[in-house]
Structure formats: structure tokens, C-alpha cells
Symmetry: C2
Subunit: 504 residues, 2 copies
């Protein structure tokens, strides 16, 4: 005691030093507290609704008043930012890059026009523009049913509410032309009143029911993938479910693998179309993105679509989910590197390595499929019988299903590289047996030599080879775009009056 008191008396400056240090510390703590409070105020302001949203408000602009950061980043989906090594051009014409696709889809609308997917911003516009939707001049005209709109616009929710789900699926695409004008938006995934994630489309809910599962039991983290799985899946139009309707169904009844879905289609005897060359009963794969992702390591470790495609960002002291859905390769720092402590260049190189390998074997299979179709055509020309060709046509169907499963799925090579390779490998094996059968049929019909590879070096050559009149299709489309689409939009504007219509 004595000594301690003695110290104080001997060094009076010590007390002043401690006092000064304490003052400085307190001053900076004050600054910090102030900074924290300012951010709080900002957050409080940012998350106080500016306008009141109805639960089913379809106009994303209205949501944007309350959630400007999410909305503004979502608007950036207008810049698609392709990031795949093999997908480096904007609005990439995949038929031009891979003319084989034209032959593989001969007799089906995809052989006319097939581009790399663009941002959500273009969802409605691209439906107008693609040659696949033709040129419907009246509301009754085809070729496409209203079902095609299902994933393209929040207006669909209103129309399904008004006309019933089956009623909606029973119309033509053109019938709803003046109604479907807003591109994919907030309401497609969110509840306007609570902002919670919500499944807005019946097909996914019904797909869960078909598997004996209840989607309302999904966790929030599962929902961060399931809202995407409303659309980024394999599906087909069932014409037997409700009379007169092209009912949207996910073929998940037996499971999510390529084999599971094929088994379902085989059981119900479904085919999307009959191939124009080989006459095989074909299946068109849509985009089994969610299904393939489920067999990849990221899904298996609990990573959701949104974790990589909608990473969290920070702006003005606020953390928010980036709604510019794009390839994580455009934003490695906020996606891959959140978990993987590795240089961005190395991470990207790894993904490119996956893409290269899958592309290499996928390309082999697509050329083998082209050969199988032209060999089958040759066999028919030489007088092959239905009975002779039965197994061949099944083999073509099965092998092309596997090819398309990987080719059509966005990001297959990354989402599930080995599962993709397995599927392609099976496809190559199946088409091998099929082409051997074809070789023997051809030999029995007097043709014991290779059937020449068709002249399909370019998209134009390939389309000409399968007999498409592209000039006519383009002309019709031009008339449609100049005369019909402007009327649809005008009608929407008149009907909605002050009620805004997105992107006119």
C-alpha cells in the first residue's frame, strides 16, 4: 500500500498520461458509436416501406421504390454478361456455333432459332423475337400455347388467378399477347406483403406433390434454390391432364436423374415430336438446371442457387442480395472466394477445365447423333421396315435425350461435371449400339458403306439440309413484330392506364 501511494506521489505526470490516453480512447469510441448510429439510421430509412405493396403487386417498379438496391441490380440483367469460356459472345447464336443442333432438332421449332439464354430482362421480348414462336396474326393462331408464357412474366400470376390454371394453359400464346408485358419480376419469387420467398407457379408445387413431398416444408435455404426451380427445370406440356390444355408438368415422378425422367416419359408414352429425318419419337430436354445441380457438390454441401448467382453485397452500410443474376465467374470475389481461398484466375481456370472436358465429349456425341439420324433416313429410303427400325428409333431417342440433358442445361459442366460426363458417356454407348444395328440394317438393304456426313458446316447449310424455308420464317416474323406486337403493347397501356407497364 505504502509503496503504491508512494509511486503516485513520486510521478504525478503518470496520472495525467493515463487520463489523456483515456480521453483519446473515449473520443474514438464516440466516433465509432456515431458511425454505427448513422448506419442504423440509414438502414432504418432504407427498410421503411415508401409505398405499400399489395401481396400480388406485379409491377417491379413499385417494389423498386421500397427496395432500390435490389431493383436496380435486377435491372442490370439487361446486360447478360456471358462468362462461360464457350459462351463469350453476347446473344450468342448457338445454331451458328453448333450447326449439328439444327439436324438434331429437325422437325422441331428449335431447329429454326436457338440462342444462349439472356438476362431475365429480355424474357418477354425474346418470346416475341424468337423464330420458335412463329408469327401468330390472330389470338387463335399458333404455333405455341400460352403455356410458353408461364415462366416469362409476373402477369401470368394474375392471368392464372383470373382464368384458372388449366384455363391459362388452354389458350394460345397469342391470346395473352396483350396481357403478358412485364418481364420476370419481384412477385415471381417474393410475397409483396412480407418479402418472404414464395412459390408462385403451380407446376413446382404439383411436382412436389407428385413425389409425395410438401413444398411448404422447405427451409429458407432450400427456398433460395426452389424459387429458381420454378422455371430452371425440365418440363413438358401434358395434353392428357386437362382436355384442351397444354398443362405444364415437371417429369419428376420417379426422381430427378436423366434416367428417372426418361423412365417416366417412357411409361406415359410421351414424345415431344417425331424427328424429320430418322422418324424417331424424340424428347426435347428443356433446361434441367436444378436437377443437374442437385447431383453436384455445391448442392450436396447445402449451397443454394442464390449463394452464387445472387451474392450478398454491401453498399452505403447496407448488406443486400445482388439481384443481377449472372454467372459467378463475373463476380468471383463475392461468390467462389467466399468459401474458396484461391486466386480468382485459378478458380476460373478450374471451371474452364470442366467446360472443356464436357464440351469435348458432348461434341462427339452430337456428331454421332447427326450420323445416326442420317443413317436412319438412309435406311428408310432403302425400304427399312417399322419392325427393323423399332430398336434403332428407341436408341436414337435415348441417346439424344442424354445429349440434350447436358447440352440444354445451363452450366451443366460446372453444376455437376461428373454427372454430366456420366450421362454423355451413356449416350455415346447407346448410340454405338444403335448405329451398329443401323449398319447391319443398311448392309441388309444393300448399302454396306458409311453414310456420308451431311453438308452442315454452317447454320444456313444445316437449315437448308433439313428443308427449312428460313426466308419465309423471317419474313413472317418481321410482319408479326411490326404489326402485332406494337398493338399488344398499346392495348396493355390503354387497359392499365396509370397502372404502369414495364419496358415499352
Amino acid at each position: 500500500m505504502e509503496s503504491s501511494n508512494g509511486n503516485k506521489r513520486k510521478r504525478p505526470w503518470m496520472g495525467w498520461l493515463l487520463f489523456s490516453v483515456a480521453m483519446v480512447v473515449v473520443f474514438f469510441m464516440g466516433l465509432l458509436a456515431s458511425s454505427i448510429m448513422e448506419r442504423r439510421a440509414e438502414a432504418l430509412f432504407a427498410y421503411t416501406p415508401q409505398v405499400e405493396l399489395e401481396e400480388w403487386e406485379p409491377r417491379s417498379e413499385m417494389w423498386g421504390e421500397n427496395f432500390p438496391r435490389q431493383y436496380q441490380s435486377y435491372l442490370l440483367t439487361s446486360d447478360t454478361m456471358f462468362a462461360s469460356k464457350h459462351n463469350s459472345n453476347r446473344a450468342d447464336d448457338l445454331l451458328a456455333r453448333y450447326p449439328e443442333f439444327v439436324v438434331l432438332w429437325a422437325g422441331y421449332a428449335f431447329s429454326r432459332d436457338y440462342n444462349a439464354g439472356r438476362g431475365h430482362y429480355y424474357a418477354v421480348e425474346d418470346v416475341h423475337n424468337t423464330l420458335r414462336t412463329g408469327a401468330p396474326m390472330t389470338p387463335e393462331d399458333g404455333p405455341q400455347p400460352a403455356t410458353c408464357w408461364t415462366c416469362k412474366s409476373p402477369d401470368v400470376i394474375r392471368l392464372m388467378e383470373r382464368d384458372g390454371v388449366a384455363g391459362f394453359y388452354s389458350q394460345t400464346m397469342a391470346y395473352y399477347g396483350p396481357e403478358v408485358v412485364n418481364y420476370i419480376g419481384c412477385i415471381d419469387c417474393h410475397n409483396g406483403a412480407t418479402m418472404n420467398l414464395r412459390i408462385s407457379r403451380p407446376a413446382l408445387i404439383e411436382a412436389y406433390e407428385n413425389m409425395g413431398k410438401d413444398i411448404t416444408k422447405a427451409t429458407h435455404q432450400e427456398m433460395r434454390s426452389l424459387v429458381c426451380a420454378q422455371c430452371h427445370v425440365e418440363y413438358y406440356f401434358d395434353q392428357n391432364k386437362v382436355e384442351g390444355a397444354n398443362y405444364l408438368v415437371f417429369p419428376w415422378h420417379k426422381g430427378l436423374t436423366a434416367e428417372d425422367m426418361e423412365a417416366y416419359f417412357d411409361e406415359i408414352g410421351f414424345a415431344d415430336w417425331t424427328h424429320a429425318l430418322s422418324r424417331a419419337p424424340m424428347l426435347k430436354v428443356q433446361h434441367p438446371d436444378y436437377e443437374l445441380y442437385k447431383y453436384g457438390i455445391h448442392a450436396q454441401r447445402g449451397v443454394a442457387c442464390a449463394d452464387c448467382h445472387m451474392p450478398f453485397r454491401s453498399e452505403g452500410g447496407l448488406k443486400f442480395s445482388d439481384h443481377r443474376m449472372t454467372s459467378p465467374l463475373n463476380n468471383v470475389a463475392n461468390t467462389c472466394q467466399v468459401c474458396h481461398r484461391e486466386e480468382a484466375a485459378n478458380l476460373i481456370q478450374t471451371v474452364y477445365g470442366m467446360q472443356d472436358r464436357i464440351l469435348e465429349i458432348r461434341r462427339q456425341l452430337e456428331k454421332q447423333l447427326v450420323r445416326a439420324h442420317v443413317e436412319a433416313k438412309k435406311a428408310w429410303n432403302l425400304g427399312a421396315t417399322e419392325e427393323q427400325m423399332h430398336d434403332v428409333l428407341q436408341g436414337i431417342r435415348q441417346a439424344q435425350w442424354r445429349w440434350d440433358f447436358v447440352a440444354a442445361s445451363h452450366g451443366a459442366a460446372f453444376h455437376a461435371p461428373l454427372e454430366s460426363a456420366r450421362i454423355i458417356g451413356n449416350g455415346i454407348s447407346i448410340i454405338q449400339e444403335t448405329r451398329l444395328q443401323l449398319a447391319r440394317i443398311l448392309a441388309s438393304l444393300g448399302h454396306n458403306e458409311p453414310v456420308p456426313y451431311p453438308p452442315i458446316a454452317t447454320k444456313a447449310e444445316a437449315q437448308s439440309y433439313i428443308g427449312l424455308d428460313m426466308d419465309q420464317l423471317r419474313q413472317d416474323k418481321e410482319v408479326f413484330l411490326k404489326t402485332i406486337v406494337p398493338k399488344w403493347i398499346e392495348e396493355a397501356v390503354q387497359r392499365e392506364k396509370g397502372y404502369r407497364v414495364t419496358r415499352l
Copy 2:
């Protein structure tokens, strides 16, 4: 001041309390320091050499005196502990599990006997036992050259020193029977004087030279894979390099991919054997473990063989590298989980998923190859010409090279799953074109129908199908094991006298 002093005077027990707490803390710090010092002493003792080792000391027991933990864990390689899902039996007879292998290797010694690899402990014993080495009754007898011993024993270093590298490669295996008695040991990877990792075999050093690289520039982390790459690689016996010698060469001149090595073999016109059924000029892949690993994510992130196959352990306060080289799946906690924060069961499941997928497509290719061989045999039987068959035989060679590259590589499905799938996919594509050519040749020779799959449901059936007299081979081997091998060992014991011989 006043108030503080007043406090102290009012609570004198406070000072004693602080004093007591300080005493307790100091006491425990003392205990901790003592514990640290004890461990230091132990480490000092543990790493003080008990015996002095010569730089090229071949007897692992001697090293074991200085490094008991490393040595004792190395002895555990006597328990192979198979961990692969598809490899769950000990000393697994792979010909029994996949009788197709017998047909694919018809005309080559592998069709007689091929087991899953066992631990290093069995390196010498397994050379004696396998039917592939036959029954050499004199030092001049074949069928195998001394080159087969190269990777099996530290005695090889002494023999190469004594007889020269080319001299060693010029003898028969039987010639060195009494000399090669110690199984793979410390000296094969370590310098006895410094304990540094060291390349002891010329083939890897020469392979680096052939690529224009200098292996002495390898980092320590690279050496932790390169010592393994002395043996766990693709290699062949070059008979043109030094006359009379079966010179061990790694075909790395153009690179390490399946295609790079194939291009090298094609360039030098090399074949391991002519297939007994198809007459194709075949390549036998050995075990391109290091090469495939280089194309996997672990190598690309700088993980060495030793990181997973020789993880660090702690014992008695000492950290040491576990020399029980086995599948990391036997020791997930010290291998995978060092980096991957995930339940062991999930990690194992992920590896099984890789193995399942690769096995699925590999099995397809091996059955297609069996068919190709029997189809080719049928074509020869029906009078096909060399000219007609030229491309077919090349195709069989190429496709089987790809199959074997994955089938023979230890852990291919894990080390580089997608590269393995790519190679298999290419193999399936190549054999497709080959079998189509065969179908047309067969049709032209009057056989326009499938060639039946051979009766190879079991190993015995398959061996009988390709005309092997297994009873004779087994009888000869028994005589050899009973009469020759004991003499070899006796001779070694006599020669070495006090100089110990491992495992008698």
C-alpha cells in the same frame, strides 16, 4: 486518490485475494512450462540418432532404430486396408470381379493373374507369387526381365550401383532372385545421412530430362509427390535404347495426358503385345497415378501425395508423418478434414459418388472392347485382309489404351474424376467407329448379324475362352515357390551374414 486509498484500507482481504490468484496462475504457468520442456526433451531424444546410417543403407530396420514411429507405421502397410467402395475385399482378385479383363489382355501375362494392389510390405512377395512372373527355374529363365524388380526393393539401388543401370536392366528377374529380398523401404525415398527426400531411381530423373526439365529444381512440396512418382506412373520397357536391355522409360516426352503418351508410343511404333484374339498391336497401361493426379483439383491446388496418403500424426508430444500409406478414406480425420470442414460420412459419400460414376462408364467401355476383340477375331476367321483390318486394329489399340489408362490407375476416379470421364468418353467414341467398321467388314464377308458375346461370366470361363492352361501355370508356380524362392532367401541370408535381410 482519497477514496481509492480509503477503499483499500477498508478491504484488506482484497490484496490477499489478488495475491492468491496470482500465485495460482503462476503455479499453473510453471506446470505448463515444465510440460513444454519435457516435450522438448522427448523430441530432442527422439530425433537424436541412435545408430549412424550410411547414405545408402538399404535395411529399413536400421532406420527404424532412429525413427521408430515412421518405421512402425510403415510396417502397418502389411495391413492393406482397402477403402474403395468397389475394392472392399482384401487381396481382391480383379480378374474374378471383372472377367472382361481376361479377354482384354488375351496374349499378355495380365490375363493370368491381376489383383488389387497390396501394401508396400508385400512388394517382393507379390512378385514371387503372381502368375505373371511365371516359374523361372534357372537364373536365365524368363518370362520377366530384371526391370520388373526396379520398383520393388531398396536392394535395386545397390545392384544398379554394382552392375550399372543398363546392366541391371539387361538381366532376368530370376537372375536377381537371391539379391532382391528387402521390400520397398526408407532408402527408396530418403537420403540416409540427411533424411531429405531423394529420387533414387534413374527413370524419373531421365523422364524429366526428356521433357527438358531438371528434377533437382523440384521444391520440397513437389518432392512429396515425386518420390511416389518414381513408381506410380505409366512406363514401358524400351528394347532399343541399350542393346540387350529392357530399359525402363516413362513415355512423358510429349506430356502427361493419355493423348500425349499415346502420341509418343505411336511415334516410336511401340506395342507391348499383339492381342491374341483381335491381333491388334496393344499398349498395356501400367498405373499412371501421378499423371492422372496432375489433372485433378488436389494437385492443381498444391496438395501432394503425402498430404493425403501420409498425413501428420501426433504421438507422445511428437508430430510425425504417418508412413502407413493407404487410402485417405481410412483416415478422413487426418486427411480430408484437415481442409474440408464436413462430416466424414459425407466426404466418403462424395468419393463413392465419383467411383460409381466412373465405374459405370468404364464398365460399358470394357464390354464394348470385349465385343470389338471377338468381332475382329470373327473377321479374321472369315478371311478379312490386313488392309481391311488396319484401321480397326488401330481403333482397338486406341480405345483400350484409354480404358486401361483409367482402369489401371489407382484412385483415378478420385484423383481426377472428370479427366478420367473424358478419357473413357473418348474411348467409347473410338470403339464406336471401330465396331462400325468391323460390322461393315463382317457384312462384306457374309456375316451381317451381331457376333455373340463370349462365355465369360467367370474368371475361369474367360481364361478357358482365351485358351490359358491355368492348371499348368499354377502347378509350375507351386514348384517355383517351393523349390526356388526358399533357395533365393537362403542364399541372401548366407551372403549377408549379420547383415539382416528383411522378412524371411
